[in-house]
C-alpha cells in the first residue's frame, strides 16, 4: 500500500472513533456490592442500546459518604459529573447552590407527575421544577431472618422489642450470633432508627427526628429507645466493628447469625446468593413497626452541563430511569420497589409485594416516614450528629441518661 492510502485509512478510522464517542454520561454512585452492581449494569446496558456511553464513577462506601465528598470537590472545581446519586434534603441543598439542571421538559413529556406518588416527586423537585429522577423506593425497617437458625434454636420471629430480646438470647444459647451487624456509624444509626420507630411509633419519630422538636427528643420515650438500643450491645459479636453491611448479610445467609436489621437492599444479596424468600430467608417488618414504612428513595440528580451533547445524554438518561423496563429490572436486582406507580407485580417476589402493600397502606395512615439514618429526613449535619451519638453509645458503656443528653446537645449544635 502506498503512503496516501495509509494516511486516508487512518484519517477515516479516526473520524469514525470521533463520531462513535457521541455523548457520554459520567455517573457518580456508590453501588458496589453484588446485587447493586448488577442493577447499575442494567442501566448502563439500556443506555448503551440508545447510543449513550457510560463513564462509571463508582466510589465505594456503603453510606455514600465518600462519594459525596468526591462530588463536592468535583462540583467546586467546576467539573461536575453528568449525574450523581444524591437523595433527600441534599437535593435541595445542591439546588440552592445552583448546581442542578432543570429536567422539567423530560418530566412533562413523560407525565412524571402522574407516575410518581407526591411524597416521592416532592423530593425530586427544587422550587417546583424537577432536578432529579427517582430510581426506587427502599424500605429501611426490615428484619431479615434465617428460619433454619431459628428452628435450631427453638425460637420464633419476634414482633415486639421485648420479644426480640427473648428470642435473641435463645439463638445465642444455641451457639449462634443473634444479630449480624456491621460496626459502621450508618449501620448503628439504621438499627437505632428501627428501634426508635418501633418503640415510639411514627408520630414520635416524625416529631423527634424530622421536625427535631427538643421536648420530644428529651423525653421518656427517647430514654426507652436508648435502653433497648443498649441491650443490642450484648447481641452482636466482637468482630462487628468496621464490618461492611453485606458481610453481615452473608453471616445470615450462611447460618452463622439469626437476624439482621437492614434495609431491603439486603434482599439483593440474598437474591444474588440464589436464596428464595420464605424458604431460605424470611423478611418481616422490624419489631413494632409493622404499620410503618421508613422510606429511602435513591435518585440521580443532574448537574448543569455546558455541552449540548452532554445535555442530550442527560435527558436520555432521565427518561430511561423512569421507563417501565428499567424500573422493573433494576428493582428486581436491587431488592427495592419501583418508584413508578402502577407497574405489574407478577415478577416481584413476596417480600417486594409486602413492601408495595405497606407503602400504599402507610401513605394513607401516616406511617410513611423518611429515614434519618439514610439522609432523607434531615440535613447531613444533623444526621451526622445522630450517627456520632448512636455509634458512640453502641460501642461504649455510656448510660441512657448520658446518651440522651449527648443526642440533644449534638442535634442542637448541628443546626
Amino acid at each position: 500500500m502506498n503512503t496516501k492510502s495509509i494516511v486516508l485509512t487512518c484519517a477515516s478510522l479516526l473520524l469514525c472513533t470521533g463520531l462513535a464517542r457521541a455523548a457520554d454520561v459520567e455517573v457518580l454512585h456508590w453501588w458496589t456490592s453484588g446485587g447493586e452492581a448488577r442493577s447499575v449494569d442494567h442501566l448502563k446496558k439500556s443506555l448503551g442500546a440508545k447510543g449513550v456511553g457510560w463513564k462509571d464513577f463508582a466510589v465505594a462506601g456503603g453510606g455514600g459518604e465518600n462519594a459525596m465528598t468526591v462530588l463536592k470537590s468535583r462540583a467546586v472545581s467546576g467539573n461536575p459529573p453528568t449525574a450523581a446519586q444524591i437523595k433527600g434534603p441534599s437535593i435541595q441543598e445542591w439546588g440552592d447552590l445552583g448546581f442542578l439542571a432543570n429536567i422539567d421538559a423530560v418530566a412533562k413529556s413523560n407525565r412524571w407527575d402522574s407516575l410518581l406518588p407526591t411524597v416521592v416527586s416532592d423530593v425530586m423537585k427544587h422550587e417546583g421544577k424537577y432536578v432529579a429522577a427517582p430510581v426506587n423506593v427502599h424500605r429501611v425497617n426490615w428484619l431479615w431472618a434465617n428460619p433454619a437458625v431459628f428452628k435450631k434454636a427453638g425460637a420464633t420471629i419476634p414482633t415486639t422489642w421485648q420479644d426480640f430480646m427473648v428470642q435473641a438470647r435463645k439463638i445465642q444459647d444455641a451457639g449462634m450470633i443473634a444479630l449480624a451487624h456491621g460496626g459502621q456509624a450508618w449501620q448503628d444509626a439504621t438499627v437505632f432508627e428501627s428501634i426508635a420507630l418501633g418503640i415510639g411509633g411514627s408520630d414520635y419519630y416524625r416529631k423527634a427526628f424530622v421536625e427535631l422538636d427538643m421536648k420530644t427528643l428529651d423525653s421518656a420515650t427517647t430514654r426507652e429507645v436508648f435502653r433497648v438500643f443498649g441491650e443490642v450491645r450484648g447481641l452482636i459479636d466482637s468482630n462487628a466493628p468496621g464490618r461492611d453491611w453485606n458481610v453481615a448479610t452473608s453471616m445470615v445467609i450462611k447460618g452463622e447469625a439469626g437476624m439482621q436489621l437492614m434495609g431491603d437492599w439486603a434482599k439483593g444479596e440474598f437474591t444474588a446468593a440464589g436464596k428464595t424468600p420464605g424458604v431460605d430467608y424470611v423478611c418481616v417488618a422490624a419489631p413494632g413497626t409493622s404499620g410503618s414504612f421508613t422510606f429511602n428513595i435513591d435518585s440521580f440528580a443532574f448537574f448543569n452541563q455546558g455541552d449540548a451533547g452532554a445535555q442530550k445524554a442527560q435527558r436520555a438518561m432521565a427518561a430511561e430511569i423512569l421507563s417501565e423496563d428499567f424500573q422493573k429490572v433494576f428493582n428486581l436486582n436491587k431488592g427495592s420497589i419501583p418508584a413508578r406507580l402502577g407497574m405489574a407485580r407478577d415478577e416481584f417476589d413476596s417480600c417486594a409485594h409486602a413492601s408495595m402493600d405497606a407503602f400504599l397502606a402507610s401513605a394513607q395512615t401516616g406511617g410513611l416516614v423518611p429515614s434519618f439514618a439514610h439522609g432523607m429526613a434531615v440535613s447531613e449535619a444533623v444526621s451526622g450528629a445522630i450517627y456520632d451519638t448512636a455509634t458512640n453509645y453502641l460501642n461504649s458503656r455510656q448510660s441512657v441518661e448520658d446518651g440522651v443528653k449527648q443526642l440533644v446537645a449534638a442535634i442542637k449544635s448541628a443546626q
Binding site: T69, D237, N239, P241, N392, L394, S396
Partner: protein
Amino acid sequence: MNWLEKMLPKLVLAPTTVAMIVCMYGFMIWTGALSMTRSRMLPQWEFVGFDQYVRLFQNPRWEVALNNLWIFGFLFIAISLVLGLVLAILLDQKIRGEGFIRTVYLYPMAISFIVTGTAWKWIMNPGLGLEKLMRDFGFETFEFRWLVDQEMAIYTIVIAAVWQSSGFVMAMFLAGLRGVDDSLIKASQIDGASAWQAYWHVILPILRPVFFSAVMILAHIAIKSFDLVQALTAGGPGYASDLPANFMYTYAFNRAQMGVGAASAVIMLFGVLAILVPYLYSELRSQRK
C-alpha cells in the same frame, strides 16, 4: 553579568518560595478566615465570629480526638526515639550482616500508611489475627481485643505507627553515630568509663541535632496520621480512636460543616506551634552558641 551571578540563587529559589508562601501561609490564613464564617457544605463568606469554635469545643467527639492526639503523639515519638536509638546502637557494634539487617528494619518505612493500617488491622483482629493464632496454638483464654476496645483502640494505632517509623529513626541515629569521632570514644575508655557511661555522657550529647531532626519528623508524621487511622480503625469503635485530622475531614467534607472543620484545623495548627516553636527556638539558639 555580575548582577545575574549574584541574583541567581535567589532567582532559582523564588518559584519555590512563592509557592510556599501562597500554598502554605496563604491557605493557612484562608482556613483561619473560613473558620470564622457560617460555611456549611461549601464556603460561604458570612462572618459569625467565634461561633464555630464554641460549637467545636462543645462537641464530645472533638474532646476525644484532642485527647487521642496527645496520647498518640507522646507515645509514638517517645517509643520511636527509644526503639530507634537502641536499634542503632546495637547495629553500630560492627556485627556481621549489618547491611542486610539495616535494610530489613528500614523496609516498613517504604510502604504507605494505608498498607500498614490494613495489615495491622488483620493482625490485631480478634477473630482473624493474633488472638485466633494463639488460641489455635492452645492458649485457650488468650485475649488481644485492643482493636475493638474503646479504651485501648488508640494504642493499636501507636503500635502500627511505631512499627513503621522506628526503622527510619534508627537509620538517622546510625548515621549520627557513624559521625562520632573515634578519638572521643577512645579517650573516654582511657579515662575508665564503662560502655554505658561512654554512651550516656559522651555520645548521646553529640547526637542532640539528630534527636532534634528525629523529633521534628516524628511530630509531623504524628499530626499527619489520617490515613493510618482510616485504614486501621476508621476512627472506631464508635469514634474512640479518632484523631483531629480525621475529625476535620469528617466534619468539613462529610458532614457539611466546613466552618467547624476549619476551626478544628486552626486549633490543630496552634497546638502544633505551641510545642514546636519553643523547641525550635531553644535548639537553634543552643546551636548558635
